[in-house]
C-alpha cells in the first residue's frame, strides 16, 4: 500500500492533477444531475405569506411550526418530508403523504403553513391547481 503511494507520488505530475480534478468534477456533476441527489434539495417552510425556514432534506428530524390555528408538525426523513400532525379539520395536508421531488408542495390552508421542496432548478414559475 505504502509502496503504491510512493510509486504514485513519484509518477504524478502537475498536469495530472488537473485531469484528476476535472474527472472528479465530471463524476460529481453527473451524479448530481442524473441521480437528483438529495444533497441538492431543501425544504422551504412558509408561514402565512413569508418564508419561515429552510431545511436540508438530508436529515432525520421533526419540526413543530406554530400556525394561526395551532401547531403543525412535519417530519423530514432522508430526502422526503410530510405533515405528521396539523390542527386543521380535514387533514388534507397529512393525507398527501410523503413528498420528495423538487417543486412538490403541500399546503395547509387553515393553518396557513405550506412546505415546498426546492432544488437547484425550477422547471416552472407557478402552478395551476
Amino acid at each position: 500500500m505504502i509502496k503504491k503511494i510512493l510509486q504514485f507520488s513519484k509518477l504524478i505530475k502537475s498536469g495530472d492533477w488537473f485531469v484528476i480534478i476535472l474527472f472528479c468534477i465530471l463524476i460529481i456533476i453527473s451524479a448530481k444531475t442524473l441521480w437528483n441527489l438529495p444533497q441538492g434539495k431543501y425544504l422551504e417552510i412558509y408561514k402565512n405569506n413569508e418564508i419561515l425556514a429552510i431545511y436540508s432534506l438530508n436529515q432525520q428530524i421533526s419540526k413543530t411550526i406554530n400556525g394561526i390555528k395551532g401547531k403543525t408538525e412535519i417530519i423530514i426523513n432522508n430526502g422526503r418530508v410530510r405533515f405528521s400532525s396539523s390542527p386543521c379539520s380535514k387533514k388534507y395536508c397529512i393525507h398527501q403523504g410523503w413528498i420528495s421531488k423538487t417543486n412538490q408542495t403541500i399546503i395547509c390552508i387553515p393553518n396557513k403553513i405550506s412546505i415546498s421542496i426546492v432544488g437547484t432548478k425550477k422547471t416552472y414559475d407557478s402552478i395551476n391547481y
Binding site: K13, G15, D16, V19, I20, F23, C24, I27, L34, W35
Partner: protein, 171 residues
Amino acid sequence: MTLSTINITNRDHQIAKLSAIAVALSLIEFFFPSPIPGVKPGIANIIILYTIFKFDLNMGIWVSLIRVFVTSIILGSFLSPTFFLSLSGSLFSLIFLIAFRNLDRQNFSLISFSLIAALAHIFGQFIIVRIWIIPHNGVFYLLPIFLVSAFIFGLVNALVTNKLLKLNSKK
C-alpha cells in the same frame, strides 16, 4: 508475374506478441465475474498503454484493434453487441489518445493518458448502449458508477503500466 513477398519485420513480431498478451488478459478478465455488470478493470489496457509508451502510438493502435477482434472471435462474440461495445470503447480511447498525443510529457504523466483513455472508453461504450442496446435515457442512471470505476481502474492500470515500463527498461 512478380511474386510479392510480405516482409515480416521485428515490429510485426512485437505487435503480435503484445496483442497475444492483451488477448490473453481479456480472456482471463472475461472469466472473472464482476459484481456489477459492465464494470471491468480492463487489464488488457495495461498492455496497450505499455505499448504506446514503450514504443509508439501507431503500434498501440494495432495492438488495441487486434485485441478487440481476436478476443471476440475466440469468445464467439464477433459482430455481437459485446463486440461493438468493445470496439466502440477502444476506438474512442484511441481517438482521444491521438487527439491528446501532443500533451506535454513534462507536465502530464501516463496517469493522465490512462484516465483520458478510460473516460473515452466509457463514453464510447455508453453511446453504443444508448443508441442500440438500451435505447432510453434510464441508462444514464448508471453513468456515475461507470465513471467512478473508470477513474479508479484508470489510475490502477496506470500504476501497473508504469511498473512494467520500469521493469522492462532495466533489462
